[in-house]
Subunit: 211 residues, 4 copies
């Protein structure tokens, strides 16, 4: 299972969480990556943790102000990027362009989608993986694996054999991670469960413990 | 005069240009700032040059994925931000929110506008400065001070006494900078003239030489 | 006082409400306009009521698909348009372009803003009027004149002498309209109070009765 | 073959072209539909021609200002809608919501896409048809069937058996229509070729003549 921890714009200590995540990944052998603010990719990557961008723009080098050039995130230390998170929904053509930009720069991609129909759509654009996150469950603490397990199994079907599915929204315990795996997910997309925890190490260890 | 150099998504060596800019600023006493990719704010700021963001989002800490939190750019070393560049035009309410976010985080703001009417509008939102950049001149090498000097003087009038005006679009020589100053501008917004120059040091020195 | 009734995408009988509004306007001499769905401008205008668009695009004739050309709304019978409603916030440059497009086509403009600062900004773009609508009050039934009367008086100051201010958000009774007038507003922007009323005629008559 | 004529924001006489199209459709038995400005759906539909919207919003009835409610276009006489035209690109989630809104209101859907990859993505969202329009060919007069016929055949493959493909961009002659049909397209999306013709009847008759 791949554990991708999205720090969003939370008031958290990104470098501290990254250090913890690097430790837990080392100790357990579980693949864990951290997606901090773009401005903090460099210090997060310096901890040795696998570092992801939360978004890259579907642009090439050129006259683009205020965009996130995939190559710049790579130079800062990123090795992957989320795209089309429900808090940063993109136009279809820009998801396509963003995946192309990420591939060009050498970034792995996880593209988010709200439902199995959109998972199928996104999988057609050839990302490395998709993440299914029903918007109504984000930040609730109720995992999709409990609220509506068919969304996960239908998404695994919709993505097809070549595109792994991550399960997002409401994942906060090791049991949630196991449930996601049982439904066919090959990873989880986490956020507040760890980023807002009083003890991120304990939260993260509890999450990966069953793996 | 304030010289604000926007590196956009150009295929340039941001740290190298930043080092040059820090030197030229030291040698000449001219205020020079560099606005790199968000992911490169940290290494650029480490050169000692004044470092700006190209954009920040009008958000507070919280559940926002793929946004640029003002505080994160400050932690990386930024002390100011562009907003509403013509390559990243914002909704009016988001310019307002972006200025509030920047003030909260301690970032200086330069808000871009296309014409004197929009300069007046933007000045009402109480930024630290506005930059007037007729979109049709961006990247042309023809400075607005030559193409249509009234746009600059009208913008200075429109901004009012409390809001300084920077002059953008097509500035590439020391003569252009002097012309902008003569029309009442208190700074210039540069991009390709230096960022794409074969010898950025020579280009920057030539620009600030008359000051 | 100008009463501008925004029918939004409510499940209402636009033509019936328009007929009522035309009658009430005739009977009372109060200026009342109706802003229906763009597709229903023509049948609403045929009732004789003053008809407004809810939005027009800042475009000229040309290759633009899915935009709302100002001239097309005029041909259908519109004589004015809202712009930048908080449910359709626009980029600053597009508010400017939208006002230009409306003037070109002969449409009156009311541009919405969230607070006095944005009212000042919008007034700089020379619309025919501005409407101040604090987003947190929209649809609440609590009028801004009660919740925070200073927002109205500050907006009247911010708009300047030449640009009249309409008061929106939460207006539903004649008392609310009178209170808005007392604070310096020259009109009101209404929506659910009339559009969702069981008896739109009674609701509208009660609203304009004190005028 | 289905001939769908997008009038965009062209300075054309929509009702006149609609009358011509209704005649030509009657005379030839070819299915022809007209997509005018939303404000002109009603008068265009009154000519008896099949009438389409250029766009509908992915909303339900409610507090939405400046959106295009699918039901309002149906009341005005529309029976179908374009979605995601390259001049009105939508977020993936909004294409999904737009198709749902159209189905709910009884509108047929043709969703545009730039390339075969996006055609596959869009087809996953279960529209009635997709239209492939390489953005670089729009308005050029060079049909995709000539410039790059593989884009059409690949799109037909990508759409799958259940979703017919329309061919857009650069179609202006009967030969272009025949070429599109030979490549597997079941319709064409037209714009300037007819809308800007001096003699729209002659242009349209020439187009459908080989069918």
């Amino acid at each position: 299972m791949f554990v991708l921890l999205n720090l969003k714009a939370y008031p958290c200590e990104a470098v501290e969480i990254a250090t913890v995540a690097a430790d837990v990944a080392d100790d357990t052998g579980v693949r864990i990556a951290i997606a901090p603010q773009t401005a903090e990719i460099a210090p997060v990557a310096e901890t040795g943790v696998e570092t992801w961008a939360q978004h890259v723009s579907g642009i090439e080098h050129g006259s683009h102000t205020g965009s996130t050039l995939a190559e710049a995130t790579v130079r800062a230390g990123a090795s992957g990027t989320l795209l089309n998170h429900s808090e940063r929904r993109l136009r279809l053509a820009d998801i396509d362009a963003g995946i192309r930009a990420a591939k060009r720069a050498g970034l792995e991609t996880v593209v988010c989608a709200n439902n199995p129909r959109q998972v199928a759509a996104v999988a057609s654009l050839q990302p490395d993986a998709v993440a299914v996150e029903p918007p109504e469950l984000i930040g609730t603490g109720t995992p999709v694996s409990k609220a509506d397990p068919e969304i996960v199994t239908d998404s695994v079907d919709a993505a097809g054999e070549d595109v792994p599915v991550l399960c997002g929204a409401g994942i906060s315990t090791g049991e949630d991670v196991t449930a996601a795996a049982d439904l066919g997910a090959e990873g989880v997309l986490l956020a507040s469960g760890v980023a807002k925890a009083d003890d991120p190490r304990a939260a993260l260890e509890a999450l990966v413990e069953p793996l």
